[in-house]
Assembly symmetry: C2
Homo-oligomer: 179 residues x 2
DNA sequence: CCCCCCATGTAACATGTTACATGATTGA
DNA sequence: TCAATCATGTAACATGTTACATGGGGGG
């Protein structure tokens, strides 16, 4: 079982809610703001094939048809999805992939305990705080080599991160209220 | 001359400030938050080769060495960069690429008039406002099919956009003051 | 002299996009 | 029956990543 791509996990997360055909998943990507994944069949069908071959997903019907038949997540698939959700947040150069983290958060609601969801938010908020500090520090370090436009762009990054940090607090509050 | 990738434009934008060697550009991508582009030589050197062949970039020295020699943008390169900056903002499914727009904005400071920079910000802010409306509308349309986690993720998107819209106002203000 | 950094490049691989092909089903 | 939509897939292409190869030059 090779490493899965973000698209693979997005598909797994969808199937973890309810069985769907490949076509229906394409529709979801087309008509909802989900993650920002594309609806190209050239990406989705090969990905589904790989997931089937890895045993993370299986035809949900009696298997006689195979066409027009919805796919369902398997226990292995659920385990893989869960492992992904619990994996440590990796921050690459260029900052945190916020929309990717939002996609992950969406799926935590279906698979993790409330406590684990809270932990996810806490980890995310800490990472964001660190990113803010790093960005502000690098701004000060290079202040004299940066143009005013550069500084504004950095400011935009800071505002994005701060909005994300605020959201973390909001999400935590919403979760604890809805308990 | 084929269509240029975002990385190509990022390189052009850097060279529009000052001549640099490929290696130095790699360093910039490694050590600054610029755009979030990678520093892989396997991406940068082929891209520079293409830019050289298209005549958008040229060796800045006397041309005898070729190695360790900085590259400089040509008039054609400047024109291509300017055209890119002035091109209408295209919004694909999945929303606006905010960090891409920030990269663009950075380069407008070196190449466009103050009036054009303001127009850029205005267009961006309008696009963001439209994106906010679309996202809020889609949230209402699908409210009953969405989980509470889905709703929170949408909320995160809205907060991101609102932060970006705020930034547009801030940037406009900063530009007009620094006039 | 040897190692590390400068500087450029290439090869293999992964991933996704566009565009097309195929056939079944459904409604006018 | 004809068109549209459902449903799946493939082929060609673009793009970028990882990892490696190459060679010059400076400092210990």
């Amino acid at each position: 079982m090779k490493t899965l791509t973000p698209l693979n996990y997005a598909l797994l997360g969808l199937l973890n809610r309810t069985p769907l055909t490949g076509y229906e998943m394409m529709q979801v990507f087309e008509t909802t703001p989900l993650g920002g994944y594309s609806s190209s069949p050239g990406a989705i069908y090969p990905a589904l094939k790989k997931l089937r071959q890895s045993g993370l997903v299986a035809v949900s019907g009696d298997g006689t048809s195979g066409r027009g038949d919805a796919l369902a997540i398997t226990p292995d698939g659920k385990a893989a999805l869960k492992a992904w959700l619990l994996a440590p947040l990796l921050v690459k150069a260029g900052g945190i992939d916020l929309s990717g983290q939002m996609l992950k958060f969406t799926f935590t609601g279906d698979l993790l305990t409330r406590r684990q969801q809270m932990a996810f938010l806490n980890r995310l908020e800490k990472a964001i705080t660190r990113a803010i500090d790093a960005l502000a520090a690098s701004r000060e370090r290079m202040r004299d080599t940066l143009t005013s436009h550069d500084l504004l762009a950095v400011e935009a990054g800071l505002l994005q991160y701060r909005a994300a940090a605020d959201w973390c607090a909001l999400a935590r509050q919403t979760l604890s209220k809805g308990k």
